[in-house]
Symmetry: C2
Subunit: 343 residues, 2 copies
DNA sequence: AGGGCTATCAATAACGTTATAGATGCGCCT
DNA sequence: AGGCGCATCTATAACGTTATTGATAGCCCT
């Protein structure tokens, strides 16, 4: 193996304890010996064996970040923020993709990585409160992107219902009357259920009624799901004049399908997404969407977990992160200031 | 802490060594005791302490994957493949974002994670052969997405020059005469330099000459860089009739800027990208692009590293992964079969 | 001058695992 | 009967680190 504390100690003529103290600064070391040890370290190219350190310290400095999939830009962008923030706190992130599968999510929550991480940040796609209640507390858990009530964990969330309502009201305020929702799920699991509920509330608030034929369930949340899901609606008689999509990827698929069918966005079909992924600014037309503050979400998730790991406080907290409606061309057409403040 | 081997040993009335053998199957254990030990494990909920295991074994089962940034869908998609493939081999991936900064890349290559990973997969954006030659070999290294000659490491690459040439020849074959390249870099570092070279060769092969004003350098490789970079060209006199972009993100930015300026793609401006990110299939118009086989690249990178870690063979290998030109609407307009085989 | 305090360092016991060497019992062969 | 091999298991020494305890020397104070 490589150079160990013991090698440095021999070289510098001190004990391993002293070398350790020089490395960690845990206890004071005389300036002269500190220099001598440091020289030995530099000459021999020592760096501490992390496995040994982790074993001895009882903590690893790893935290797991479990997300549905990296292929979804929203989660990739979120992971990017979280990884950077974790590094600022001296932690290293282990990514786990659940593929949005219930089975994999259960594994993650019940300690798939329990023996190697100090804590877990989890963005659920399928799991509800009941799945979390029987968790034997292996490592501290922070929930993200999701409002799960009555569960004794920290969670970072936005108000999915309110945000969805704002999106639909925006469409209604533009005179749209047949507003579809694309991206519902078979189960009313979170958060798809919440956005559907917000959609319903928004439709009612606009004095309209929900036409069940305008609520489209999709197998997944990708662009192809949006395109395939909306196609029958657009081809059918009595098509919608607006779509609120579960997320931006589905919205992109919807716009793509509209384009293929010769429909103009927003003239024939207005589209609103959810997430404000980078891509949304550059689609043609650019995409009106709900923008959760990803930067805040990612940082908050990490800091909440870190303070849970390092603090003494033990009471679970809820953090509600604000969102904005970012109005772009897919609802109001071109020639408008790029962004305007929302709710 | 949690339950240890010792706890299980006491409960089952055997030695820790026997429990270890039951867990690892390293040495045979009598069926009866094996059952007894397994019961104790199940009852007490034991799982091995990985830090201790890593320390004792001298390997961690971690591999680092260093990429420029997760925000770039190409790398997110590649990481997704690599993570899954690594898991299949019993390895866990640690992601490191270099932001394409030379300094960070040097850190990665010279052992930032050396004390915790068994091996390293590195996708360079700035580093060249000379930066790698003075590497004191801490952990095995596999290079990805890049053809660096005369360096004693495995590398997985596609022929960037040939691919770029194919892209340009495709544009030329459609009658385009003023073909721009967007996404050149100040330094002729890899791989931007290679694609620029392929562009040059392609232009010459078509019997045209390279107009330096049509070669646009950009500060980065994102959508905004493409939009900002191409804007002066499109607004100027004697604009290009085609763009070959360094990557798909830049191509998307170019198409966006064309849209803003009222230019039609492909009629006024044909666009070819590079990477074939998922997004490219759903832009309006959809994006013609060079498609490296990401699936093969990601899997090959992992298997190459794993066989280097576990095999005895020690001779560095080159793997050249094929690419295809995927022709879509951004060069030939609508109503064409979605994909056709390329080079 | 002696006792106590501070500053500095050393010795060493863990942390939980795996690998090596050795112990035990049993059957079988000569 | 005695010894040998096999199957099974135990005892224990590492792996490299950190935290605890203890030792030593120098200094100040009464």
């Amino acid at each position: 193996m490589g150079v160990s504390l013991r090698d440095i100690a021999l070289r510098a003529g001190v004990s391993v304890a002293t070398v350790s103290n020089v490395v960690n600064g845990y206890r004071p070391v005389a300036a002269a010996t500190k220099v001598r040890v440091q020289e030995a370290i530099d000459e021999m190219g020592y760096s501490p064996n992390l496995s040994a350190r982790h074993l001895r310290r009882g903590r690893t400095g790893f935290i797991a970040l479990a997300i549905p999939e990296l292929n979804n830009p929203y989660f990739a962008e979120l992971a990017d923020v979280a990884i950077a923030e974790a590094a600022r706190h001296g932690y290293t992130v282990l990514l786990d993709s659940t593929n949005g599968e219930r089975e994999r999510e259960l594994e993650v929550v019940h300690g798939l990585r329990a023996q190697i991480v100090d804590g877990l940040i989890f963005s659920p796609a399928q799991l509800g409160p009941s799945d979390l209640s029987d968790r034997r507390d292996s490592v501290p858990l922070v929930l993200v992107g999701e409002r799960i009530h009555d569960v004794a964990y920290d969670h970072i969330s936005i108000d999915n219902i309110a945000a969805s309502r704002v999106a639909v009201e925006h469409l209604a305020s533009l005179g749209r009357r047949r507003i579809a929702f694309v991206g519902a799920q078979d189960s009313d699991r979170q958060p798809a259920g919440l956005r559907l509920q917000g959609y319903t509330e928004g439709v009612h608030a606009a004095g309209l009624t929900v036409d069940p034929r305008l609520v489209v369930r999709t197998p997944g949340f990708d662009r192809a799901d949006g395109a395939d899901g909306v196609a029958p609606l657009l081809r059918g008689s009595d098509p919608p004049d607006a779509v609120f999509a579960y997320n931006d990827l589905i919205a992109v698929g919807v716009m793509r399908k509209a384009y293929e069918l010769g429909l103009r966005v927003p003239d024939d079909l207005a589209v609103v997404g959810f997430d404000d992924i980078n891509e949304a600014r550059f689609t043609t037309p650019s995409l009106t969407t709900i923008a959760p503050d990803k930067d805040v979400i990612g940082k908050l998730a990490v800091t909440a977990l870190v303070s849970r790991l390092e603090g003494e406080d033990n009471v679970p907290r809820e953090y509600e992160v604000p969102f904005r409606l970012v109005v772009r061309e897919s609802t109001v057409g071109a020639a408008l200031p790029e962004e305007e403040p929302g709710a």
